[in-house]
C-alpha cells in the first residue's frame, strides 16, 4: 500500500505550518521570532517551518529544566517507570502517524519505520522503565560497624544532540535512559529532521512534568553550540562526526563535565568461505547480510560499508551479491513495498556523489549503481541514489571513510589473519559483521575485531539490552543497554559508622 503524502486527502499526518520549541511543558515561540524551512527529501520541497532558536531559547529551556530537576530526580522509580511505559503506549497507539512522519521528514522507507524505527523506539522506553525498576545501589560491610552505601543519583540537567539518520529512534536511545535515571533534558534535534520529534512531543510531552523534557530546535552553530557550551548542563550526549565530537569534548572540558559520543565507523562485514558450503537458508541470510549496506539508504553509523570476502569464494559470492543488490532500486518512501528511500538531504546526496567520484578516480571498479536516480513526477526533486557496489582495496578512501550512502566497497582476503588485519585497518571501530558456519571461527573473529559490536551471522539488529558503542575514534559510552543508566547517574557513597565508641585517634 501507499500512504498518502502528509497534508493531502486521507493522510495519516497533517503538519502545522509552523512548529515552536517545547519548553516547560508547552510550545513556546523562539525568542527572536525566526523560523527555518523544513524540507522533505522525498520531494525536495519544504513542508513546515521550525523554530530557529538561539542562546536565549537555550537559556529558557535550561531554566525550565533546572526548575523541574529537584522534583523529577526524587520522583519514585515506580512513577518514573510508569510514565515511560505510558509514553511507549501512546507511541504505539500512534505508530502509523509517527512512522509516516519519520519517512516524510527523513526520506527513509515507511516499511522500515513501521518495522524498525518505531517498534525499537517504543521498546526502548519500556526497556529503560524495566531497568529502572530493577536498578539497585549496593552496600559493602567494611567491618563490623562500618557500612558503605552506594546510591545512584541523577546528574541533573543534561544536553542531548540528536542526529538526522534515525531522528526519533536516536532521540529515544538518549531520552529513555536519561529520563529513567531522573534527569531533566534539553534536547536539540537535527536541523534536517526535527518534525517527528515535535509531533511526538505533542503526543507525549505532557505525560512528563513540565520542564523534564525540553526541545530546542535550530542550527548547530546557533542553538547546539550554546547548549553544549553551557555551564548549566551536567553532561552532553552527541551522535555525529569526529570534528564536532572533538569540539563538544572541548566545550565539556571547559566545564569539566562528562560526554558520551557516538561518532560513526566504517564497519567491515566479513564473509568466510563456508557461507557458500550449502545452498540453503544460511547462504541467503549471508547474502541478505551483504545487501544490508543499503538499509536506511546507508545512513547508518554501522553501515556494513566494507565487505571482505574470502578469496576462495570471492567471484561466486560477489556475483550472487551483485545480482541481489540489483534487485533493489529506490522508490517512493511512502510505499510499503519500497526498500530504499531518499537520502536525508541535498548536501548528503552531493557528498555521496562526491565519494562515488573519488572511488572511480582511485580506480575502484563500479559493479552496480553509481548514480543519482530520478524518480520522475512528484518525486523528481527527491534525493535518490542507486545501491552502489565498488570493488577495490582497503587503502582507497571509499574503504576508509563512512560515505553514509547506499555504497559498499568490496575486497577479498586470504585466510583468517588477513581478514582481521584488513577489518581492523580503520580509524573507527563501531560495528562489524562476521558470517561463517564455524562457530569457533566466529568467536575468534569476534574477539579479534576492534569494534564495539560484532554482529555474528546477523547484521543491523538494534535490540535494547545489547550494548552499542565504539572502539577507537568511534566514540565513548555504550547505549541501548542498562549500562547507559550509569552514564546518566552519579554514585553517592554514604560511609556510615554504627560504632558508638570514639576512634581514639585524637
Amino acid at each position: 500500500m501507499r500512504y498518502a503524502q502528509p497534508n493531502t486527502e486521507g493522510a495519516k499526518v497533517n503538519y502545522q505550518s509552523r512548529y515552536d520549541n517545547f519548553i516547560g511543558g508547552e510550545f513556546v515561540k523562539p525568542a527572536r521570532g525566526e523560523y527555518f524551512q523544513n524540507i522533505t527529501p522525498v520531494t525536495g520541497r519544504p513542508f513546515c517551518e521550525v523554530a530557529r532558536s538561539t542562546h536565549e531559547d537555550v537559556e529558557r529551556a535550561l531554566d525550565a529544566a533546572h526548575g523541574a530537576k529537584g522534583r523529577w530526580g526524587k520522583t519514585a522509580p515506580a512513577e518514573r517507570a510508569r510514565i515511560l511505559n505510558k509514553i511507549a503506549d501512546v507511541m504505539e497507539q500512534n505508530i502509523e502517524l509517527l512512522a509516516v512522519s519519520e519517512s516524510w521528514d527523513n526520506g527513509k522507507p515507511v516499511r522500515e519505520t513501521l518495522a524498525a524505527d518505531l517498534p525499537l523506539a517504543i521498546d526502548h522506553f519500556r526497556y529503560f522503565a524495566g531497568c529502572l525498576r530493577a536498578e539497585e545501589g549496593s552496600l559493602a560491610e567494611l567491618d563490623e560497624h562500618t557500612v558503605a552505601y552506594h546510591l545512584k543519583e541523577p546528574l541533573g540537567v543534561v544536553a542531548q544532540i540528536i542526529p538526522w539518520n534515525f531522528p526519533l529512534l536516536m532521540a529515544a536511545w538518549k531520552l529513555a535512559p536519561a529520563l529513567a535515571a531522573g534527569n531533566c533534558v534539553v534536547l536539540k534535534p537535527a536541523e534536517q529532521t526535527p518534525a517527528t520529534i515535535l509531533l511526538w512531543a505533542q503526543l507525549v510531552g505532557n505525560l512528563l512534568p513540565p520542564g523534564v523534557l525540553n526541545i530546542v530546535n535550530g542550527f548547530g552553530i546557533e542553538a547546539g553550540k550554546p547548549l553544549a557550551q553551557s555551564s548549566r548542563i551536567a553532561k552532553v550526549a552527541f551522535t555525529g562526526e569526529t570534528t564536532t565530537g572533538r569540539l563538544i569534548m572541548q566545550y565539556a572540558s571547559d566545564n569539566l563535565i562528562p560526554v558520551t559520543l557516538e561518532l560513526g565507523g566504517k564497519s567491515p562485514n566479513i564473509f568466510f568461505a563456508d557461507v557458500l558450503d550449502k545452498d540453503d537458508d544460511f547462504r541467503q541470510k549471508a547474502l541478505e547480510g551483504f545487501a544490508m549496506f543499503a538499509l536506511n539508504q546507508g545512513e547508518v553509523c554501522t553501515c556494513p560499508s566494507r565487505a571482505l570476502i574470502d578469496r576462495k569464494i570471492y567471484g561466486a559470492f560477489l556475483d550472487m551479491a551483485v545480482t541481489r543488490t540489483r534487485q533493489t532500486s529506490p522508490g517512493n518512501p511512502l510505499d510499503t513495498d519500497t526498500r530504499l528511500g531518499a537520502q536525508a538531504s541535498n548536501d548528503q546526496l552531493e557528498k555521496i556523489l562526491s565519494y562515488i567520484d573519488i572511488g572511480k578516480k582511485e580506480g575502484a571498479k563500479l559493479l552496480a549503481g553509481g548514480e543519482r536516480v530520478r524518480l520522475g513526477g512528484d518525486l523528481d526533486g527527491g534525493y535518490y541514489v542507486a545501491p552502489t557496489i565498488f570493488e577495490g582495496h582497503n587503502k582507497m578512501r571509499i574503504f576508509q571513510e563512512e560515505i553514509f550512502g547506499p555504497v559498499v566497497s568490496v575486497t577479498g582476503f586470504e585466510g583468517f589473519d588477513q581478514a582481521i588485519e584488513i577489518a581492523n585497518d580503520s580509524l573507527y571501530g563501531l560495528g562489524a559483521g562476521v558470517w561463517t558456519r564455524d562457530m569457533h571461527q566466529a568467536f575468534r573473529a569476534g574477539r579479534a575485531l576492534e569494534a564495539g559490536r560484532v554482529w555474528t551471522n546477523c547484521y543491523h539488529l538494534y535490540p535494547a539490552h545489547a550494548a552499542f558503542g565504539g572502539y577507537k575514534k568511534s566514540g565513548i559510552g555504550r547505549e541501548t543497554h542498562r549500562m547507559m543508566l550509569d552514564h546518566y547517574q552519579q554514585t553517592k557513597n554514604l560511609l556510615v559508622s554504627y560504632d558508638p565508641k570514639p576512634m581514639g585517634f585524637f
Binding site: A190, I221, T244, L263, G264, F404
Partner: protein, 112 residues
C-alpha cells in the same frame, strides 16, 4: 611543482569571504565519521582548539585548513577542493544557517 593539498572553487571562495565578513577570521577542520563526517567544518578562528596531532593542510583565503594526523595518513594521496552546495548540514559549521554546506571534492595527487 605539485598543486596545494587544499584548494577551493570560486563559489566556495565567495562563501568564505562572505562568512569572514560576518564572523571575522575563519578556520576549517576536516571531519570524519558518520552523519556529516567527511565534511569540512568551518569555525571562527580559534573556536576549535587544534591539537598537536592536527596537520595544517593549507589555507583558503587565509583561513587555515586542518585535518587529524591519522586521517591525513589515509587521505594524503588525494588533493582536496573545497566546494559548496545547497543544503543544511549538521554540526556547528558556520555556513549551515545560510542554506549552503561546504563539501570536499577530491582528486588523486600525481605520483612524482
Amino acid at each position: 611543482m605539485s598543486p596545494p593539498p587544499v584548494a577551493a572553487t570560486p563559489a566556495a571562495l565567495e562563501w568564505v569571504r562572505r562568512l569572514s565578513a560576518r564572523h571575522g577570521p575563519l578556520m576549517f577542520h576536516q571531519s570524519g565519521g558518520c552523519c556529516d563526517g567527511s565534511s569540512p567544518m568551518c569555525y571562527p578562528l580559534g573556536e576549535f582548539r587544534v591539537g598537536p596531532r592536527d596537520v595544517l593542510l593549507g589555507e583558503i583565503e587565509g583561513s587555515p585548513y586542518y585535518i587529524d594526523a591519522d586521517q591525513f595518513e589515509r587521505w594524503k594521496h588525494t588533493r582536496l577542493t573545497l566546494d559548496v552546495v545547497p543544503g543544511r548540514g549538521a554540526g556547528f559549521s558556520l555556513e549551515a544557517p545560510e542554506g549552503v554546506r561546504f563539501l570536499i571534492r577530491s582528486d588523486l595527487c600525481e605520483i612524482p
